[in-house]
């Protein structure tokens, strides 16, 4: 049975293909269109998925959209009516926005693929999140919590899912919280207040929080209060997201927290103003964590299950995830590599397969690499045409060469196999560097990423070595598999891991298992043999404002215009002339053995 999942129109759109119960491929539209967080209908992603699988659209048994668009429209219209007459400005915007394209999803899909309307199905937004979290996870039974800004009406759901011995799966969402009472919207409101981009820069608030003190928790509690049944409700008078398209916080919010930050103003922690912004971030982060821990603790008591699957954009908050693991009572917490709306494309397809069609549940490979592959020969071709130093090496020589380069403080662009599905670079489209010194972090920020200094870089370490350098609780390695948790760096290693240790001594560590990324695992081993510290800095292979690279050519163009010294795609290695000369001077010339092909223009 061939099922295509589609998510579109709000954040990062995506498509995913499931054949006979097994994911075959999945890709976000931004990776193909090169527009960051592309929310457009994912025509390119759909076409790539079908091409990759060699399927014609007519061979699809179902196309599943990740939410019910008319129900969402109903929510938008109802909220506008409830806010009458204050919503008079947002009403035209909301109607044009929805009626222009978003409610006609069935027709758009049918027209694009030329398939019957009867093949087009819909799932609930949070059911898609839940399916994306549960079905790919290696667990037989789990409690489920999904939380994001808003789906149709739901903003947070709780439920449970099981795989029966006969292969049948059950996924039940038992209760929900409804808009406007939303943890995601609370966090996004602070994101906007702090001058960052909503639905994009929430992780900057999390990074900034480490610089502040949660001294405004009492004030944040005025915005969100707990209800007698253990849920929560927002005090809507402090917010405008439910009535306005342009502003998410009200005048009362500003009275409570002070003037908002303009996106162009610097955050200077030496000033009272800068510290106020950091304290705001720390306070909302603390409240978010407290509420999530309470909700998951109650869910654990209710279900008695040992595993929890987290879905929705809120599950990208690694600090909160780590606290849930430590304090909720669950032994294991599973967060998929794409917990946000892009992941719903895969979730919708799996939900239709397992629940709607009742197909038996199959074990899904536990990795995030479902996107377009990179071609080593394409990189060799473009490097040859552009007159760059390149070589094609066998596996052992390549690993040794790259480990040498990293050990001598070179920055490596690392491309391998299919790209990751989701926002994290997990070793197939990564920039790798030595993690030891602050200077490396500053160099990456200045020459490559062009981003704010307060944002930390992440380390990558093998499963075998993770506990030596990071204080991982039981289940921490699992959470670190897709970089979903933030954990303390062991104090004795913080100086030697300065480039990846955040100001509060934590790191968003990726824990690599040999089976998931064998090549990266070998590289970590080789690097460890040279430096005595088998940990690397791993950041996404892109520059600020651009999506992560997909093809060899995109990797090459990024490498050429920023400070990356060495570029690897499959078996091909390209080295900048300056870096190559320095490597030769340091006695680490191009490998003499293992060269399959080389070129120097």
């Amino acid at each position: 049975m061939n099922i295509l999942g589609v998510s579109a129109h709000y954040h990062d759109s995506a498509a995913a293909l499931v054949i006979d119960g097994m994911p075959v491929c999945a890709v976000q539209e931004e990776r193909l269109s090169r527009h960051k967080n592309d929310a457009a209908f994912p025509a390119a992603a759909i076409d790539w998925c079908l091409d990759h699988a060699g399927l014609a659209p007519a061979a699809l048994d179902a196309i599943v959209f990740y939410e019910r668009s008319m129900l969402k429209f109903e929510r938008i219209l109802t909220c506008t009516l409830r806010a009458f007459p204050r919503s008079w400005r947002s009403f035209p915007h909301a109607m044009k926005n929805s009626l222009g394209e978003k409610v006609w999803v069935r027709g758009i899909i049918a027209a694009h693929l030329d398939v019957s309307h009867r093949k087009i199905l819909f799932t609930d937004h949070h059911a898609s999140h839940a399916a994306a979290a549960f079905f790919p996870s290696p667990t037989e039974a789990a409690a489920i919590l999904t939380a994001d800004g808003v789906g149709e009406w739901a903003t947070l759901t709780c439920g449970r899912a099981t795989r029966r011995a006969n292969g049948r799966a059950e996924l039940t969402l038992e209760r929900e919280l409804r808009f406007p009472h939303s943890l995601g919207m609370l966090y996004s409101t602070f994101t906007a207040y702090l001058g960052f981009a909503v639905n994009e820069d929430e992780y900057k608030v999390m990074g900034l929080a480490a610089y502040g003190k949660p001294s405004m928790v009492d004030r944040v509690h005025k915005l969100i209060h707990r209800t007698p049944d253990g849920a929560f409700a927002l005090a809507t008078e402090y917010f405008e997201f439910q009535t306005s398209a342009s502003r998410s916080y009200s005048r009362r919010f500003v009275d409570l927290f002070g003037p908002p930050r303009s996106k162009y103003d610097p955050i200077d922690l030496d000033t009272a103003e800068g510290r106020r912004f950091a304290d705001c971030a720390a306070s909302v982060q603390r409240v978010l964590e407290d509420v999530l821990v309470d909700l998951t603790r109650a869910l654990h008591g209710e279900t008695g299950l040992s595993d929890l699957c987290l879905g929705g954009g809120v599950a990208l908050n690694g600090v909160a995830n780590a606290r849930i693991l430590a304090e909720s009572g669950f032994d294991r917490v599973f967060v998929p590599p794409a917990p946000g709306d892009a992941g719903c494309a895969l979730g919708a397809a799996l939900y239709a397969d397992r629940i709607y069609f009742g197909n038996p549940s199959r074990e899904i490979p536990d990795h995030p690499f479902w996107g377009p592959p990179v071609s080593a020969s394409d990189l060799a071709t473009v490097a040859r045409e552009d007159g760059q130093l390149f070589e094609e090496l066998d596996e052992i020589s390549l690993i040794e060469y790259v480990a040498d380069a990293l050990a001598s403080d070179r920055i490596v662009g690392w491309m391998e196999g299919p790209c990751e599905f989701g926002p994290r670079a997990l070793g197939h489209r990564s920039i790798l560097a030595a993690p030891h010194r602050h200077e490396m972090r500053d160099r990456l920020n200045r020459d490559i990423k062009h981003r704010e200094e307060f944002r930390p870089f992440a380390p990558v370490v093998s499963t075998e070595d993770a506990h030596e350098y990071f204080d991982l609780p039981p289940g921490g390695a699992r959470l670190g598999r897709f970089m979903s948790g933030v954990f303390p760096v062991r104090p004795q290693w913080r100086n030697r891991l300065a480039a990846v240790t955040h100001v509060d001594g934590s790191a968003r560590v990726q824990v690599v298992e040999r089976e998931m990324a064998p090549r990266l695992h070998r590289l970590l081993d080789a690097y460890g043999r040279r430096t005595g510290l088998p940990v690397l800095l791993n950041t996404s292979f892109n520059v600020a404002g651009e999506p992560i690279v997909t093809t060899a050519m995109e990797g090459y163009s990024t490498y050429r215009r920023c400070g990356i010294d060495v570029l690897v795609a499959g078996s091909t290695v390209v080295t900048k002339r300056g870096a190559a000369a320095l490597l030769m001077k340091e006695g680490m010339a191009w490998p003499s053995q293992g060269v399959v092909e080389s070129g120097v223009a």
């Binding site: 090169r34 527009h35 019910r68 668009s69 129900l71 109802t78 009516l81 409830r82 009458f84 008079w88 009403f91 035209p92 109607m95 044009k96 069935r106 009867r118 087009i120 199905l121 819909f122 799932t123 609930d124 059911a127 439920g159 969402l173 038992e174 209760r175 929900e176 919280l177 009472h181 960052f196 981009a197 209800t227 049944d229 253990g230 849920a231 409700a233 996106k263 162009y264 103003d265 610097p266 200077d268 000033t271 800068g274 239709a352 709607y356 045409e385 552009d386 062009h450 981003r451 704010e452 200094e453 520059v543 404002g545 651009e546 093809t551 050519m553 995109e554 163009s557 050429r560 215009r561």
Partner: protein, 244 residues
């Protein structure tokens, strides 16, 4: 080909330009807008470098660098005004957009792309030459315009040379076609804005004329809603074909 003087229209509009650039706030806003346009254009050209056989990479790098220059200058002006020095965030978030002209790189032939770039660079060079003159009270901003103007003139010339090489028979026609296309896209943008404004007016009228009774019902229903958990009892499986 060189740009010594601004275009005729811009010369006539010199007092307007001087008025715009004379104010600190407007100057920062203009620089930030240029930063976005240059960065967006740079990304489009970068895409061309990635998907076409001709390499536009250096051109794209220049445009992205221009975006950085504008952004850094506007951030410096902002900092100077705010009397702030050290910061952990330099106040110049990179925008994530692409160029204004909705350039479909994958669908453009080489000669059309070159003609489009030539026209765009020429227009930018004319415009920047007058901006350079009206910011003579601000040597640092003037220096940025001078540096960028040099690059734009180089880009204008290389795209013209390449175009003549790629399409020796039809390069003039391509340039006229690019001009017409640019004009048409401007018209489309204008028409969309007009349509948008008309739709907003009509919807606003409907809002006040049609919606009040429905709003009354919606508010009444809201008052009856309890806060907290809502149990989910809808039959999800049976409604898979429904958008509701």
């Amino acid at each position: 080909m060189s740009i010594r003087h601004a275009a005729c229209v811009d010369r006539v509009l010199r007092p307007v330009h001087r008025w715009i650039w004379g104010d600190g706030d407007r100057r920062v806003r203009k620089l930030l807008a240029f930063a976005e346009v240059e960065t967006g254009g740079g990304r489009d050209i970068l895409r061309a470098a990635e998907v076409t056989p001709d390499l536009y990479l250096e051109h794209a790098i220049d445009e992205l660098h221009h975006g950085d220059l504008f952004r850094q200058r506007s951030a410096a002006l902002l900092r100077a005004r705010a009397l702030r020095t050290a910061s952990i965030f330099d106040g110049n978030p990179l925008p994530g957009g692409h160029g204004l002209d909705d350039l479909a790189i994958g669908n453009e032939a080489d000669d059309r792309l070159l003609a489009f770039l030539h026209i765009a660079e020429k227009a930018a060079a004319h415009r920047f030459s007058i901006y350079r003159e009206v910011v003579d009270d601000d040597p640092e901003t003037r220096a940025i315009f001078e540096e960028i103007l040099r690059d734009e003139v180089f880009h204008m010339n290389y795209t013209y040379t390449q175009l003549a090489r790629v399409s020796p028979q039809s390069y003039r026609r391509q340039i006229w076609r690019a001009r017409a296309s640019r004009f048409y896209k401007r018209y489309l943008r204008c028409a969309i804005r007009c349509g948008d404004a008309v739709a907003s007016v009509l919807l606003t009228v409907q809002y006040f004329v049609v919606l009040p009774p429905f709003a009354w019902f919606a508010k009444r229903a809201e008052r009856r809603e309890a806060s907290g958990w809502v149990s989910i009892d809808r039959p999800a499986v049976r409604s898979a074909r429904s958008q509701y």
